[in-house]
């Protein structure tokens, strides 16, 4: 069942070499096959070294002088530019800061102001709940009769009409991996005059993204999943360059001021995407992220996507052959999903715990989804084959029928 989607032996060898090199940058625990990088990417050697240097030689040794001498003040832009290169955005159009939800609040508030006569924010049930909470909080606060309209993912295109101020979507569904066609939906939104806000939480580093080419207006995303920035690492925010001077988020702070250190009592937005900054950058976290992003230098996201598809297709085929109890919950077409697959199984929670105890780490989402992420930078085809074998063993053992196992699950 092991397949190679590349057209020639030498192409496959090239990819093997590329991903053997990236894998060596990660510090993965011995004996673990990690299929949950879509929740939290692993530690890199680069991140460990840079954080230690930050503690000892920057903050520790330079104290306040680190803001200039260690370049702390530029980190949101430096890290933003690294991420821009991964999501099809021009240099200078992305900054790293705050959390994905906080960044979403900023761009959604800016987008609403660009369509002051419209009252609908359109989203879908595949969106991550926090994104819906952000919209609910913002629209409740604005109190101008706005409505958050949430439709099924496949109904988004037809729900786009001239009442829609903002189309707000997460490109890849966090449960099933279902992938929206960003180019098509953005074009449709533009055709009815709606602004677009894309959440790239499960896209950045998972597949090629073309924000500029798609003419997306705003985007946000997460850096602790496929970008491996560490738990709760700073998120990012994109503003289409032509909008930057007209984008006015409700959330404004000194780091987004034109001249933060002039301590002017009146706010004047910084030029460009810099106005999306608010508070002081979290230097330790930003340093870990900056270092983690080094692994992407010189990588081609088309290669990442090709390998991701090879990994997930292999896993789906193996699991379907070995574990007929599991039902694929993700799109069967690999081009219609991100870099994860999910299976429905009535004992999914217990099965995932048993699998984790065997060293294969995926995760579970209610009510019955076993979720597996495929990050080519540190996963091999062998890993995926072994994961499928372990899953078969778990299903054969049926530990959930054993009261001692069930009791253990309840304790944790």
């Amino acid at each position: 069942m092991r397949m190679d989607t590349s057209s020639s032996h030498s192409a496959a060898e090239r990819l093997d070499a590329v991903f053997a090199a990236t894998r060596s940058r990660f510090d993965l625990p011995e004996g673990v096959i990690y299929l949950d990088g879509n929740s939290l990417g692993p530690l890199t050697h680069d991140a460990r070294m840079r954080v230690a240097d930050e503690l000892d030689n920057q903050w520790g040794a330079r104290l306040i002088k680190g803001w200039n001498e260690s370049g702390w003040i530029d980190l949101p832009h430096i890290v933003g530019n690294r991420i821009a290169a991964l999501v099809g955005a021009a240099p200078g159009s992305v900054v790293a800061c705050d959390s994905t939800s906080v960044n979403l609040f900023k761009v959604l508030s800016a987008a609403l102001q660009m369509r002051p006569e419209r009252r609908v924010v359109l989203s879908d049930r595949g969106n991550f709940p926090s994104d819906l909470y952000v919209a609910q909080g913002l629209l409740g606060g604005v109190e101008r009769g706005h409505e958050l309209k949430v439709v099924e993912p496949e109904e988004v295109a037809e729900a786009l009409d001239e009442n829609v101020a903002v189309l707000m979507l997460t490109q890849v569904d966090y449960r099933t991996g279902r992938l929206h066609d960003m180019a098509d939906l953005t074009r449709r939104a533009r055709a009815v005059g709606a602004a677009t806000v894309w959440d790239l939480a499960h896209s950045a580093g998972a597949l090629p993204v073309h924000l500029e080419e798609a003419e997306a207006d705003f985007a946000v995303g997460c850096s602790y999943k496929y970008l491996n920035g560490g738990p709760g690492a700073p998120a990012f925010v994109y503003v289409r360059p032509e909008h930057a001077e007209h984008a006015h988020p409700f959330l404004a702070g000194w780091m987004g001021h034109e001249t933060p250190f002039a301590f002017d009592p009146g706010y004047r937005a910084a030029p460009g995407v810099g106005r999306m900054l608010v508070g002081t950058p979290p230097v330790l976290a930003m340093t870990a992220l900056d270092a983690a992003l080094e692994v992407w230098e010189g990588l081609d996201l088309a290669d990442v996507r090709a390998r991701s598809i090879e990994l997930s297709e292999t896993f789906v085929a193996e699991v379907e052959a070995r574990c007929p109890e599991l039902v694929l919950a993700s799109p069967r077409d690999p081009l219609a999903r991100g870099s994860q697959v999910s299976f429905r199984f009535e004992h999914g929670y217990a099965a995932m715990q048993a699998l984790i105890e065997r060293g294969v780490i995926g995760d579970f989402r209610t009510p019955d989804l076993m979720r597996f992420g495929f990050a080519p930078l540190y996963l091999s085809l062998d890993d995926v084959l072994r994961a499928a074998e372990e899953l078969e063993t778990v299903l054969r053992d049926r530990l959930w029928d054993d009261p001692r196992f069930a009791a253990r699950l309840k304790v944790t």
Copy 2:
């Protein structure tokens, strides 16, 4: 001029022992006297060790399991409770998260909703500019005819009237150290029915704060100054327990949901101050802060305040005796300022650079303020005396008259 404010020799010895012990917890560079802990506190040995452990044994080894096994998910509350103990707040009424500005946005939006019929947010010119920007951004977004009224610090009391929805102040002026009387102004605000929002950026860890006793409604603050959490460390937010169930910030995300992992499409605020959480907690940064806060265990803030006053009074007396060119810009009464003093000097910028080159680190604020912070946890009376001596030397040398020095300044 060396004075001891304690009433007996043994009391002085006790304080010396207390602060010798705290000083040993800090990893200060050799030969540096650090009088800028009011901008950025120094590294502690605890923080270095905990961050290294976090990288190697938590994130690195446990990966996604760290959220439960390493207690990451509880960090905002654990750290919040440590800070609560330093600002006179009940356990469970403070969480650590986001930046001070983002937290201010949350509580200001919640406070405004508690006074829907009023239109004035009252603040003063001593407030940190970012706080004013937050209010400007929020009121501009709400568009309901609100006004941000900014008066002189000494005019706040008389400007409080029944039009004021929220009194929003920073307790300690970042330039001069001037200290507002929180108890008095909060009482006056309550008397006219205004809600209060206090920014404790330069108060927390600098002097005893009594949020609960003062009946303050909301507070925010910074943890990278006197709390030594590291550059850009997570900030904190306080909600008076009796308000928590009625406080609805515009900024809402999954970590503030009653059941974040139920992935409910509708937002339901968590009970208590937990609703002030939004995105995923920044674990590395939160860990450094949690570790840095260990030094406060068992410390009495009255002792910290007594030693802070001793340090600043000694410094003021020494500088005024040695450097008549410098004019005190801070209140002369130590009880009317926080834990910093500032002097006006026309060559202040150059003088501060020259002083820093001599190993005494303070900072400069336009147009002419030389600013010095006194953190008793790692500063001794000897440090302060030596700092005054170095300052005297700098003023005698007048390097700013040397074109080579001036040229060097322009380069940096």
